[in-house]
Symmetry: C2
């Protein structure tokens, strides 16, 4: 596995790979790799000739300086983890390498970013859109891999790819969870023992909301909030129930539904979501409702 | 010369050219080609292995329906003109081909678009940024060619390329003019005989402003406005004097200065600009000013 630190070095490699007809898989990450990331890398290795993993804690997508400063940075152990995966190249640039000058252009994803993370982290998806565009132009991937834990991010990147015409196939892989249900996240490393113990309640709350969905979104939301209210270590920031494609609360289109939340546990902000297929909601409704 | 009408066809071609190591030159146009365009094509032919010219009247960069509807569309004669240039492929898609769905993403170029065309044509540069991004992703050019008549557009595209990290070299070529000084433009075809006769006064006004620049921007602006006021067939929309890089009226950085205008002549809107090197301003100032 090659380690590349400059944009020019990555560009030279990907130009060469494109020339020789290699299929390029790309997994953008902010490092502190966990099994969720490694699942993406394994999928990329299985489906492409060469695989690039980027590790870059992108300053422009953080709206909170403390979150940025405390974001775990463990490049050495990340490198070791990647060595056993079949990853071809690790791209680990500095912020100066990615942003020789600050960007002037601002990206606005409209209704897609007026909810959930976009509503609570002003400028977050502008930062995501800019860095993903830059990384795509350097890595020139045929396929790019993202985790569904960041459901809204996947929707944003899908819109970016469609609207700017990037020639890349997006692969969104299911969230990988700990045995107790906690969604794997780099930020889990920062949890205090107490916070780690209560953290699986987030996923339980999402499942509870999903179970109550046949009774309506208001009931589902209230039940989940009531449940989480029983754990003083959890401060819910939002719990939103939305159409999985549009991310808007209007569910009348009848497609998949996504239930997303963000919560603070002892100074650490976690997000999670579950996807609900309308068929399962209808089945539950027909059998008399609340599971 | 090959004529391609679908995104997939162009993409297949450019993928192949990239694979075989060809250098790709790209000239995006809205058609109704004139010698200004052909100069760009000739430069692209001289400097690249293959050259793609696109002809696409992009609906999303028009804020005025009449301007869009009356924009000249003469694909047959454009095709004939291109046949003699050495152009490899003409890309002429439909709006539906370029926009299978309307874009959600909005691009905001900040201060760069708060002036001149951006200030007077709301949404114009969002449309330009989106279509240029799409075209770049289809044409995969090594070099892209633009005319300096659209000075602000060149600045916007340069920012787009820098901020999203497009791997393309931008070439901006000087404005080509008719013998009487009128900047070549596809919209010139729509000028009435009377409007065509008075149109060269726009360039004269810019030269007059440049000549008065040593006396200050207010004087330069006033002189040009007074001059144009003498021609009832010309309705000036704006005349702005700005730093050629930032496009802002603050000239204290001492770099090149651009003088830009837009004006209506008998229902047709034309733009033009001249570039002034500060050395020439200083020289004039030292020799006592007004040329």
């Amino acid at each position: 596995m090659e380690i590349l630190e400059t944009a020019a070095a990555l560009q030279a490699r990907t130009e060469m790979w494109r020339r020789d007809g290699s299929r390029i898989g790309f997994v953008p990450t902010m490092g502190a790799l966990h099994d969720g990331h490694l699942e993406l890398v394994r999928a990329a290795v299985a489906e492409n000739d060469v695989v690039i993993v980027s590790v870059f804690v992108n300053p422009t997508q953080f709206n909170n300086a403390e979150d940025f400063n405390k974001y775990p940075r463990v490049l050495e152990s990340d490198t070791e983890l990647l060595r056993n995966t079949g990853c071809t190249a690790l791209f680990a640039p500095t912020p100066e390498e990615m942003y020789p000058r600050p960007a002037v252009l601002q990206l606005d994803f409209g209704p897609l970013e007026r909810v959930m993370e976009g509503a609570h982290r002003p400028g977050h998806f502008n930062g995501v859109g800019i860095v993903v565009s830059k990384l795509f132009h350097l890595a020139r991937p045929h396929r790019a891999y993202f985790g569904q834990k960041d459901w809204q991010q996947v929707a944003i990147v899908r819109q970016l790819v469609a609207d700017l015409g990037f020639d890349v196939e997006l692969i969104a892989a299911p969230t990988v969870r700990e045995a107790d249900g906690l969604a794997m996240s780099s930020r889990n490393r920062r949890l205090s023992p107490e916070a780690r113990q209560v953290a699986p309640r987030l996923h339980e709350a999402l499942l509870l909301a999903a179970a109550h969905l046949p009774a309506g979104t208001a009931v589902a939301q209230a039940e989940a909030q009531k449940f989480l209210g029983g754990f003083p270590g959890i401060e819910l920031e939002y719990l939103e129930i939305a159409d999985a494609q549009t991310l808007q609360p209007d569910l009348t289109a009848g497609g998949d539904v996504v239930i997303c939340l963000a919560a603070w546990l002892d100074g650490v902000r976690l997000i999670d979501n579950v996807l609900v297929h309308p068929a399962s909601v209808t089945a539950q409704r027909n059998s008399g409702g609340q599971a």
